[in-house]
Structure formats: structure tokens, C-alpha cells
Symmetry: C2
Subunit: 404 residues, 2 copies
């Protein structure tokens, strides 16, 4: 497996584009993205667990009922959620894709992201759909990745190449993150494309398995979005023997998927609203995988840990506190905690109690922009990693006046 | 029932004091509080559900095993949590009380609040215990309430007088709040005193019942503290017929308890770290009490709702979003949302969808410092209220450098 460029256009047969159509007021910001496969593709998706769901979620679920799709359309600037006519608008977006491309309307994955509860008009999309379709290209992945950004400050893309049965396959993706991100089913918008041949059933299985250790393990602010969705299209154009069950090929595929998704997870966490630092909590020595996951997630979600990391304060008591209320069955008296970053590692807690450490060393480590919080439960051999970010003044600033 | 002054000294037979003994570096800040009943009192307590518990929690639990206590000692500036010698120190604090007063060491409720994982020395407390005991007085409630403050900006006290069987009883309390506050068993330090006569069993029952609708319904930052405790002493000096079971007298007692505890809850929420506003979410029309509680708490806990309230932004979509991930079974299409404050009310969502409203009116309402978020589930007759505060730059500032 090797890293390649190209994002959602890295896999054979995929084109993408992104434009400003007018949903956002700021004309320099793209707000409509399109991804299309030259042929119908196996499709899988995971949706937010929030009971309040964006209208596009319902339409996409219906469209993917047969396990196949061919295009993805996504707007930013408006979530199309809690709108009386939301379903009609989401279906209208699919119709627009069908009208301008040789794709059936029920082979379209539709998504929206932005403010909840504001009417979304089809008009600007209808007006610019010809331009969006006309600009589809194999180099369009960056424009598409830009068009799904909300408060994101950077585009989030990744892609890998890998071999299955002697055939080179590619898998790439793009993500929109930033705010309202909390582990619960899917946790943001992520669109993945691959030219590997795989059945819809195995594609869904791979996505569900992978998400447990990737998108479920990211939190920016504890708020589970209404519009989260992770979708993948697999068009089979790599020409490999189709993956129809578990085995070596499936494992290779899952490994490639994980490389791309975990890279996107880190990018989402690092670019969390107002964030200055990527926090990774690695919980090891757990008696069960689920314990490791709960512990790592709880630490990453703690407002007090996040604030301390912003202030480069080695306040490990807050890490223990977050482990204590995680709901995981742990033996507090066995827990070790350390902080690390590219410049070093400092152990701060042993067997659940503080140990002497050099505050200057800790400060040096914690002023870097990628911090690891290392938790050893000393109670087994299971490990999990969760990704988050620090809590900063800018998170408050961004969210105090997001809507107006 | 009427409101009276006097806090923890309002009830007959209770004295209190608070001094600076040297645990905190800042000499203008009191850091050691003492409350004593002239006679042994029925005692009840509720403790944090965090698996990481402060040493004082274990010692207090042991001391209350027989249902009686006579004194409360509490220091601020150090949580005595995750310290290898924590239990010895907490027991040492009880011994100090016993040495200077005619109180048995195992009739002492001991509590600590402050930084986790830093060694706590008995020396400053031993040195100043004579002064603390010597300054006990019926006017000492304010000094005691001051001495348990951490990042609190105001003292939190309340008291009421009420009648049971023709006898006047009093019940008062003080609280320490501010940060690491999230509903899960008790959620802060609260000490209550009453001269009503009631058995330890009924006192515990009253406290557990009350907490469901009061301290469980407060959240400042989603972090459940390691040291939370709500304790009550009832010394019976009012001379009423002892409350030994349910009935009219028990109900009167519970009502008085609720008046004091809900007042303390609001004070804690309003003085949350960095807060500029008290947020009350009143969820009504629920099919079950637990649904109303879950909905109200979820709204109050949302970082995005809290940030929007800081910015006086009527972003009701975030309220719906928080209801959607609350875990409560609700019918989204029936939900109405409105915001109110002393200057008015504005309805913003009807049947789960946005309705037109005047942004200027909404802004006027939301710029006040006490905001109600009114949720009607239109699905039954159960109601619950939760209290929280806005998320501000100052929360981050306070918690970015709390320890150092």
C-alpha cells in the first residue's frame, strides 16, 4: 500500500467538481460539490444516530436500499434540516443530477451541511447545475473538497493505492469536519471512492467495522450532528476479482480503507473549530476493546482536559477524572498516564497517583501542536485511540455568532 | 414556608466558621470551613458516581454508616484525590476536629475541593485548627461558604423556615460550584443543615428524591467531579415530632429541602466557570418524567447551544439537535421551541420546523443574563427543568491555566 494524491478522484473512473452557486453569501466560498462514477457502483453508508436527521439522510437511505449508486451531490451553507419541505428539496437535488448526467435520480447520494432550520432553495443549484456538471474532471477533487467545507480551515483529503490479486486498486476520500462532531455512528460528512470490485454487502461490512475505530473515535465538541454521513462508492473499474466474502482480499481492502479514514479522522480533529492542537488519546492495557474505546473517548471529550491542553498544562488529574466517569470498568489504582509529543515524553501518574515530574519538560512537550495522551490501564492487552482537539477562545467565538 | 437568612447557621444549634490556613497561596482567600451541630444529628449523603473518588468520600462514607454525624470539615485549594496518603490525610482532618471539639472523629463529614493529584499536607490545618474551632459562631455561615469556594465568584447560600406540627423548623445550605460539574449522582459540594427531627432513613430518602430534580439537573461543563458530595445534617432541635415515615410532615420537609436546593442549583449554574448567563431549559409535554429530564439536560449540556446563548444567537436548530441525540424517545415532528427572558418570549420552532420570528426581539431577549429555553414535546404531561450556563472565552481562560 502506498499513499497517492487525487482524493476522491484517485480511483479510476471518478470525476468531481465544486463551485459557488449562491447558497453561501460569500462568493469566494464554494458551496456545491459533485462526485460521479463513470459506471454504477456498489455503495455503502453509515448515518448519524441523532433522532433529528437532515432531510438528505432519508433520501440517501432510500436511494441506497438496493446497494448501488453512481453520484454524490453535497451542498454547504445550509443543512436542509428541520425544514417542512426538506425531503422535496433533497429529492430535487437528485433530480438535478439526473437531468444533467446519465445517472438515475435514485442512484444519487445527497448530503447537506450548514445551518439547521433555515429554508434551502433549489433555485441557485438549478441555475448552476449545468456549470457544476460541465466542470467535472479528474482534477476536480480539490474543488469538491473545498465546496463541502463549513467552518473547516483546510481541505481534508487522502488516498492510497493497494494490490488485490495482482490488480492495482485505489481508494480515496474527502471529509468535512470542524464542529458538531461527536462519536455516534458516523460523525461528519465523509465521501469515499474506490475502483476496487466488492459487493455492496461486503462494502457495508467493511465500512461498519472500520468506523468503530475511526469516525466513532473522533470528537470535537460532544455534539452529534443531524447530518453526519460516511458514504463509499466502489465502481470495480480496477478489474480485480470481486470481493464477495471475508479473506485475504477483504483484509487488504479494510487496511486500505483504514489508512484513508484514520488520516481523515486526524485531519478533522486537528481542524476542529478553533483548535490549535490535535489530541490523540491512546488507551492501552485494557481488559476489553470496548473499555479502551470508552476510556480514550472520554478523555478526548473532557472540556477540562481540552482546556488544559490549550494552556499546555500537564493537569493529569483531569485525565484520571475523565477516565473515572467514562462508564468503563477500570481499576483506578493500576492506571499510568503520560504525555508525549514529537519533542519527548513525560510520565505524570503511576498506579493512579501523581509522580514527580519536571514542569518545564511537560510544558515543552505540551506546547507542540500534536499531543498524545498515553493511558495504560495495566489490565489486559486491548488498545484504542481517540482523536480530539483543544478547547480554545476561538471555539466560543466561532459558535457564538455562527448563524447571524 | 418563608425565605430567611443564615445559610448553614439558620437552623437551631448549628455554628460555622471559615479561615485561611495556608493550603491556598493567596492569603486573602479562605481555605478551611467548619460546621458543627451542638448535638449529634441524623445525617445523609450522596456521592459522585465517578470511579475516581477523592479520599474524603471514602472516609465520609465510613463515618456515616451509622446514619449520624455532628460536624463537617472542608478545605478548598486541593481535592485530596489520587494521592497515595489521601485516606490518612482525610482521617487526620477528622481527628483534628475531634481533638478541638467534643465530637467523635467518626461523626465528622470530611470533604476537599481543588486540584486533583497534588499532595495535601495536614500541617497548615493542624496549625490553625484551634483558630478555626475558636471562631465558630452563629454568624459564621458566610465565612464557611467563602472557604469552600474554588473558581466560584460568589458565595452560594439559601435558607427557609417552615412548620411541622406547629413547630418552626429551619433548613439552610451552602454550595461550591463553578467547574467540573455534570449531573451524575451529586454534582458539586453542598452542605445542608436543618433542626427538623427526622430519622436517618427518611433523611436519606428525602435527599435522594430531591437530587433527581435538582443537583442531577445541573451541568456547567459535562465533567463529573471526583469529589462531589451533597450532605445534610438534621439535629432535631426544632422539637417537632420526628419524621419516621412518609406523610404530610415528610412532604413539607421535602418541599423546604427543594426550595433550598433548587436555589443553590441556579446559583451554581449562573456562577459556572466563565459564565455570563444562567440557562434554564424547561422541557414539558413529555410522555414520561425521564424523557423530560433527558431532553432538558441534553440541551443544557450542548457546547453549541451554550456558545449560541453566549452570542445571543437564537440558533434553535442546535436545541433540536441536542434533543435528537439526548437518547430520549421523542417525536421530532411534534416539538415546539421558544426562548424567553424577563423582557419577553419568542417562539422559533413549531412541530419540529422553523417559523418566522423577529431577530431583533430574539436578540433583546437573549442579551439578558437569565434565559429560559422552552421545549414543548407535545406528547404528555411530564415536565423537568435543567440548569446550565453559557460557554464563554473565560471558561477556556480559567481552565487553560487553573493548575499552574
Amino acid at each position: 500500500m502506498k499513499w497517492i494524491t487525487g482524493g476522491v478522484c484517485a480511483a479510476k473512473g471518478f470525476l468531481a467538481s465544486g463551485i459557488h452557486c449562491g447558497i453561501r453569501k460569500n462568493k469566494t466560498k464554494k458551496d456545491l460539490a459533485l462526485i460521479v462514477s463513470g459506471t454504477r457502483a456498489a455503495a455503502a453508508s453509515i448515518y448519524t444516530a441523532n433522532l433529528v436527521k437532515g432531510a438528505p439522510i432519508y433520501v440517501t437511505k432510500d436511494n441506497l436500499a438496493d446497494g448501488y449508486a453512481q453520484a454524490i451531490i453535497c451542498n454547504s451553507g445550509n443543512a436542509n434540516t428541520c425544514n417542512a419541505d426538506g425531503i422535496d428539496i433533497a429529492m430535487g437535488m437528485c433530480d438535478l443530477v439526473a437531468k444533467h448526467l446519465s445517472v438515475s435520480a435514485n442512484d444519487v447520494i445527497v448530503a447537506s451541511t450548514g445551518v439547521i432550520g433555515q429554508p434551502l432553495s433549489l433555485a441557485p443549484m438549478a441555475e448552476h447545475m449545468a456549470a457544476l456538471a460541465g466542470s467535472l474532471s479528474i482534477q476536480g477533487e480539490q474543488a469538491a473538497a473545498e465546496a463541502i467545507m463549513t467552518t473547516d480551515t483546510i481541505k481534508k483529503e487522502a488516498a492510497v493505492a493497494f494490490e488485490i490479486g495482482g490488480k492495482t486498486c485505489r481508494l480515496g476520500g474527502m471529509a468535512k469536519g470542524s464542529g458538531m462532531i461527536h462519536p455516534n455512528m458516523a460523525t461528519m460528512l465523509v465521501f469515499l471512492t474506490t475502483d476496487a470490485a466488492i459487493t455492496p454487502q461486503m462494502l457495508q461490512k467493511a465500512l461498519v467495522l472500520d468506523t468503530q475505530d475511526t469516525f466513532h473515535m473522533v470528537s470535537v465538541d460532544g455534539d452529534t450532528s443531524t447530518n453526519d454521513m460516511v458514504s463509499i462508492l466502489a465502481n470495480g473499474q480496477a478489474g480485480n476479482e470481486p470481493i464477495e466474502g471475508e479473506g485475504e482480499a477483504f483484509e487488504v481492502f479494510c487496511k486500505a480503507l483504514n489508512a484513508v479514514t484514520s488520516t481523515l479522522c486526524k485531519a478533522i480533529a486537528k481542524d476542529g473549530e478553533g483548535a490549535t492542537k490535535l489530541l490523540s488519546c491512546i488507551a492501552k492495557g485494557a481488559a476489553a476493546k470496548e473499555i479502551a474505546r470508552k476510556v480514550a473517548k472520554s478523555v478526548i471529550c473532557s472540556s477540562l482536559v481540552k482546556s488544559a491542553m490549550f494552556g499546555a498544562d500537564a493537569n493529569w488529574g483531569r485525565v484520571l477524572c475523565a477516565i473515572g466517569y467514562s462508564g468503563a470498568a477500570v481499576d483506578v489504582s493500576k492506571i499510568d498516564v503520560a504525555f508525549s509529543s514529537p519533542v519527548g515524553l513525560v510520565a505524570v501518574c503511576k498506579n493512579g497517583a501523581g509522580i514527580p515530574f519536571c514542569e518545564d519538560t511537560a510544558k515543552d512537550i505540551l506546547t507542540k501542536d500534536e499531543i498524545n495522551i498515553l493511558v495504560d490501564l495495566n489490565d489486559g492487552d486491548q488498545t484504542a485511540t481517540a482523536w480530539g482537539c483543544d478547547l480554545t477562545y476561538d471555539y466560543v467565538k466561532i459558535n457564538g455568532d455562527y448563524r447571524t
